[in-house]
């Protein structure tokens, strides 16, 4: 039986062959990767900058299960990195460790050079990690705009008393909230939906809103957990553009988990592969696709 696309086409080919033609080919040019002094891998342009994320010997146990074990990972300042691996490999768990939903059993997490030990989820967010969730978690009963305003919570200040007694501070802050929220929504062409209730949005729009909300926290690193899940190929294409656009515009790093190889191989610069909580491979999309271990554990033989 023929595999979806045979092999994952190289970016240039895909760009050329596309029927939509709206994808700016330039944005998807392959990045040249260089190895820093240690054996990490970051894009060449980020090589001299502090990596936005560095994990050393990271690990967590659930009971007897080593869900993540001795994970070393580095994400460059403006890299789009991929984290892939079989179901249950521990990918989401890595995100949960980075965002301190779980406290790691072992190891260190450096965010922009700063050790995040002892921080909680909210603190990590303020320090610059934002995320989306495998199963969408919006503020369902609130409007789209409010969802983004909540994302902006730490970007605009206004205390409880100013709010209750409507001090001048309140009016200023509300204006700022409104303007910033609409500006962000505009990036994803969602400004028209500002007053819709988040829970009533179509699925794809909910996924986009989650990304907007994450961006609103002004992150250095954006974690996306299966952003294309449940999307059809057309929608996925659009998502890929958006991710690249966001990276370019905000100059942030993106680490994403995805099972859709079109997306992963299409936009990720560096990829790490987990299996049974351990790193089994890292490299460029081409290297990963050629890695027999990855093919056996994850990609499957393509005939």
């Amino acid at each position: 039986m023929p595999r979806t696309e045979g092999t994952y086409k190289a970016q240039s080919e895909r760009a050329a062959g596309t029927t939509t033609g709206q994808r700016p080919a330039a944005k998807r040019q392959r990045t040249k990767m260089v190895a820093p002094p240690n054996d990490y891998l970051v894009p060449e342009r980020d090589a001299l900058l502090t990596p936005v994320l560095e994990c050393r010997h990271l690990g967590i146990d659930f009971g007897g299960l080593h869900a993540v074990e001795d994970l070393n990972l580095m994400v460059g300042k403006t890299e789009i990195a991929g984290l892939i691996g079989p179901n249950g490999a521990g990918k989401t768990t890595v995100f949960n460790l980075l965002t301190k939903v779980y406290q790691p059993t072992r190891g260190t997490i450096l965010l922009d050079g700063q050790d995040t030990a002892g921080m909680d989820t909210a603190r990590v967010s303020r320090e610059g990690i934002a995320r989306t969730f495998q199963n969408i978690r919006l503020f369902d009963s609130l409007s789209v705009e409010d969802n983004v305003k909540i994302g902006l919570h730490n970007q605009v200040s206004c205390g409880m008393w100013s709010g209750i007694f409507r001090m001048p501070r309140y009016w200023l802050s509300e204006k700022e909230f409104h303007d910033k929220a609409l500006e962000l929504l505009d990036v994803f062409h969602m400004a028209d939906n500002a007053t819709d209730i988040a829970g009533s949005l179509p699925y794809g729009a909910q996924r986009r809103l989650e990304i907007v909300r994450a961006l609103a926290t002004n992150p250095k690193l954006l974690l996306l957990d299966e952003p294309a899940a449940g999307m059809n190929p057309v929608e996925t294409e659009e998502l890929m553009d958006n991710i690249v656009r966001v990276r370019d515009r905000f100059q942030i790093a993106v680490l994403l988990i995805e099972h859709d190889m079109d997306l992963v191989m299409g936009i990720c610069e560096g990829i790490v592969v987990l299996n049974f909580g351990r790193l089994i491979a890292k490299g460029t999309p081409e290297e990963i696709q050629a890695n027999p271990q990855v093919v056996e554990a994850y990609l499957g033989k393509q005939d």
């Binding site: 909210a122 994302g151 709010g163």
Partner: protein
């Protein structure tokens, strides 16, 4: 100012309707009462209604807005009630003006209740869902139990005891709080006017809080705690904020309530009273402040209006309660209501659109 009005979002417009409703009710009742056009029974209910309405609004902040099930709201009411009584008595010799004394005692009541809210809230906020509910219930009972053992006397100086009146060591003076027998001989300082002012104040605090940065954070935690944390919101802080503000407001309502009767016992503020307030909130629609106000007023009047059926009164009340819950949650009814609401909303939208166009035209 015009700019601001135009920028009003739907919730703010909604709030204006609520304020208008409250003012209208006030005007109508006040003029009817002063014209002696309503029954004594109704006049007697006015202050309790304002107290219950305030309580419903403040509990809505916890249950509807913050999404925590609290079964101990009456506890804060009771802290406020007894604080208010004591302060009013202490002030009696020095402050002649009744309304001023009421105001000061209500503020004190709010302050002490807020403190109680903080003491209760800090540990409680480590829990979630039904566990939080049971702990608030427990705190309500503990507060009742402690007040059942509290003896306070005033003879120029304040005397406190946790055993009995004798151990107060009073020289003359007056026992203000007599353990489980509560307080008697309370001066009736409360009035309908004071009650309405409290309702408006409570409404102002709650609606303004909800429509602010803090309020959005509170609702974010309600809708999805993990997501709220992930965008950097200190979830404990905002849950606690809702809880403490509500406790303070409940305390003020408690003081108003207590100073409407010449005797009050701690037992009044038990689990059943907490439930009563919760019923107002749920029946009015959780998070729906206006609904809560209306249901608090109606449900306070209902048992009184049912007096003519004698012994079956409370039975009928129970049946009404169950029927309303079944009816308002019936799928068919829901659908019809939804339909009406969408139709109304569409009309609203159309109007807004028209407004917008007009506004746009003006700018052009």
């Amino acid at each position: 100012m015009m700019e601001r009005l135009k920028g009003l979002s739907t919730p703010s417009r909604d709030n204006l309707v609520t304020y208008a409703l409250v003012f209208a009710a006030w005007a109508v009742m006040q003029s009817l009462a002063s014209a002696h056009a309503i029954s004594s029974s109704m006049v007697g209910l006015l202050v309790p209604i304002t107290a219950y309405v305030s309580l419903a609004i403040s509990l809505n902040l916890v249950v509807g807005i913050s999404g925590e099930l609290s079964l101990g709201h009456a506890g804060f009411m009771s802290v406020g009630a007894f604080t208010g009584l004591v302060v009013a008595q202490i002030l009696a010799p020095s402050v002649a003006s009744g309304p001023l004394r009421l105001l000061v005692s209500m503020l004190a009541a709010g302050g002490v209740a807020a403190l109680a809210g903080l003491v209760v809230g800090v540990p409680v906020m480590r829990l979630q869902g039904d566990y939080l509910a049971i702990v608030t219930l427990a705190f309500g009972e503990i507060i009742k139990n402690l007040l059942n053992n509290l003896y306070v006397g005033f003879d120029g100086g304040l005397h406190l005891s946790m055993t009995n009146v004798a151990s107060l060591g009073m020289s003359g003076g007056k026992v203000l709080i007599n353990g489980p027998q509560g307080a008697v001989g309370i001066e009736k300082l409360s009035s309908f006017m004071a009650g309405m002012l409290l309702v408006l104040f409570t409404l102002l605090v709650v609606t303004n809080l909800v429509n602010s940065r803090s309020g959005r954070a509170i609702m974010a935690v309600r809708d999805n705690r993990i997501a709220a944390e992930s965008v950097g919101i200190d979830t404990t802080k905002y849950r606690l904020m809702a809880f403490v503000v509500a406790a303070a407001l409940a305390g003020m309502a408690g003081a108003l309530y207590a100073m409407n009767f010449s005797s009050i016992v701690p037992k009044k503020f038990d689990f059943n009273t907490s439930i009563l307030i919760l019923v107002f909130v749920v029946l009015g629609g959780m998070g729906n402040i206006r609904g809560g106000i209306i249901s608090a007023a109606l449900l306070t009047v209902l048992p009184e209006k049912l007096r003519f059926i004698g012994d079956f009164r409370m039975l009928i009340y129970a049946v009404v309660l169950i029927s309303v819950m079944l009816f308002s949650n019936n799928a068919q009814v829901r659908m019809t209501l939804d339909g009406i609401r969408t139709r109304l909303a569409r009309k609203d939208d159309d109007e807004a659109l028209a407004d917008g166009e007009r506004g746009g035209g003006a700018h052009a």
